[in-house]
């Protein structure tokens, strides 16, 4: 299921891990660029999930029998 691809928790955990790495200066500049795009992507995914309706979920909910 599309929404299960990255959960909020996984996203936050990954972002925090990356932040920690940066704080501990474990990343060189080249890796930094890579991680920047990764974090941006994760944040975008989370924001999308928070604010944009996923048609797929709605469809499943509507089709549910009661």
């Amino acid at each position: 299921m599309a929404t299960k691809k990255v959960t909020y928790k996984e996203a936050i955990t990954e972002i925090e891990e990356i932040l920690e790495k940066i704080e501990n200066e474990e990343l060189d500049v080249d890796e930094l660029a890579e991680q920047v795009s990764r974090v941006s992507a994760l944040i975008a995914i989370c924001k999308d999930k928070l604010h944009k309706t996923e048609a797929e979920v709605e469809k499943i909910l509507n089709e549910m029998n009661q």
């Binding site: 936050i12 932040l19 940066i22 928070l50 604010h51 909910l61």
Partner: protein, 448 residues
């Protein structure tokens, strides 16, 4: 229990055997309307419980007997405190049982997702609070998306536990589709909550695999269902706020992380930039130092080279001078030596030569004298010999021989000594003392 039009309440009082539903005593009772009008609200506000079937009550009653209807109790007063105590006792019993079953904390142990977005709602479709709840969720000011699905259930009365359980079972089939279950009851009277103090319902709810959030709409004691639920909220509105605040907290956390992240990245970049600049400065400095150092060394080396070259040249010059003067001296010495030797040789040679010449002169003189003295004797002898030989020679002169009659035969100027030298036809010359005869050979014959 029935209440008729005129407001009189007719009810059956029963006693059941402990632990079973077997009735062991029964009695009819009535509460006249003027009493009932006062008793009912008092009971309900005190107990928070609708005055309905299934309650255990303590009453003050007057026993009456009627010829047609038989014996009945005319209830004058009800002590709600007794019922309250009984309800509390029953509830405690249920809680203890759930704890004994080991399920009491189970739903609380589930992890509520960071953002519960997909909500299964268990409620009565007609409840006023339901639509408010849904509107509140969907029109939240932060524009978070929530997915809601209603699973209808009866929310009051004795049917409620079974109905709610059915709804939960249905949700269970779609477990993966939801983040949480919300059980709400739209506002209204805070009565008839006893149905949620149900063992079976609590037992199911506690073990439900999704977190359950309750908003049953009361502020008094929690029902058992509230107790076993993951999160207990007082009203549906509070539940909606709870869900929205969850999303909001997450969104804020996300923003903070984002800000923090950007700061960190910028810091890191700045630090890297600084390091780069520092390194560049350092490099510049080092290079300059190195260059000037090398320049110095080069200059020093240049000076040293010049000095050394000069001193070397000087020393070479000196050496050369020495060698030159040495050579000159030696050459001169050698030449003078050679000259000397040559002179000596010349003197020796001239001396020897003179000696030799002198010797030779002496010898020559001696030889001359010897020759002079010797020649005179020899000449005399030789004169004698010559006279003798002349005499002899006169005797053997061919002319003389020829005069004596002998002749010479020549062929082509050569003396013929044998017949083998000639052949017939040859022209022979025959010399006589007074002339020459020429003849042709006619015949040759041997002596014999």
């Amino acid at each position: 229990m029935t209440v008729n039009r005129s407001g009189h309440c007719y009810l059956d009082l029963i006693e059941t055997e402990a632990g079973t539903d077997t009735v062991i005593a029964r009695c009819r009772a009535t509460i006249w309307s003027y009493t009932f009008r006062m008793l009912k609200p008092y009971f309900e506000t005190t107990t928070g419980q609708a005055f309905s079937n299934g309650l255990k009550i303590l009453v003050q009653a007057k026993v009456e007997f009627h010829e047609v209807f038989g014996m009945s109790l005319n209830i004058r007063d009800i002590d709600p405190v007794y019922t309250l105590g009984d309800m509390a006792r029953q509830r405690q019993e249920i809680i203890r049982k759930l704890q004994d079953d080991g399920v009491f904390e189970m739903n609380k142990e589930l992890e509520l997702p960071l953002v519960p977005q997909r909500i299964a709602i268990v409620s009565s479709p007609t409840a006023a609070g339901l639509q408010d709840f849904i509107d509140q969720l969907h029109n939240n000011p932060h524009h978070f998306v929530f997915y809601t699905k209603l699973f209808p259930a009866v929310m009051q009365g004795t049917d409620a536990p079974r109905s709610v359980m059915n709804a939960l079972e249905l949700i269970y089939e779609y477990e993966d589709m939801f983040d949480a279950v919300v059980i709400i009851r739209g506002g209204g009277a805070q009565i008839d909550l006893a149905c949620f103090d149900n063992y079976e319902l609590a037992f199911h709810a506690a073990q439900f695999p999704l977190p359950i959030i309750t908003g049953i709409g009361h502020d008094k004691d929690d029902t058992v269902l509230d107790m076993v639920a993951h999160t207990r909220m007082k009203t549906p509105t509070a539940v909606a706020e709870f869900l929205i605040s969850g999303a909001l907290t997450f969104a804020q956390q996300l923003n903070e992380l984002e800000t923090h992240f950007i700061e960190l990245v910028n810091e890191q970049l700045e630090a890297n930039k600084d390091r780069l600049m520092d390194a560049a400065d350092q490099l510049n400095l080092l290079v300059n130092q190195f260059v000037s150092k090398q320049t110095n060394r080069l200059e020093i080396a240049g000076i040293q080279l010049k000095n050394q070259a000069e001193s070397f040249l000087k020393s070479q010059q000196t050496d050369l001078n020495k060698v030159t003067s040495n050579t000159k001296n030696r050459t001169e010495r050698y030449i003078s030596l050679q000259n000397h030797i040559l002179e000596q040789s010349v003197q020796e040679l001239s001396f020897t030569f003179r000696k030799q010449v002198l010797k030779s002169e002496n010898k020559l003189t001696r030889l001359e004298q010897l020759l002079k003295s010797g020649t005179t004797g020899i000449l005399r002898n030789e004169k004698k010999n010559l006279n003798r030989i002349s005499e002899k020679l006169r005797l053997v002169d061919p002319q003389n021989i020829l005069k004596r009659g002998y002749s010479l035969t020549l062929l082509n100027g050569k003396i013929v000594k044998s017949i083998d030298q000639i052949s017939e036809g040859d022209q022979l010359e025959t010399r006589l003392s007074d002339g020459i005869i020429e003849s042709i050979v006619e015949k040759i014959s041997n002596k014999e």
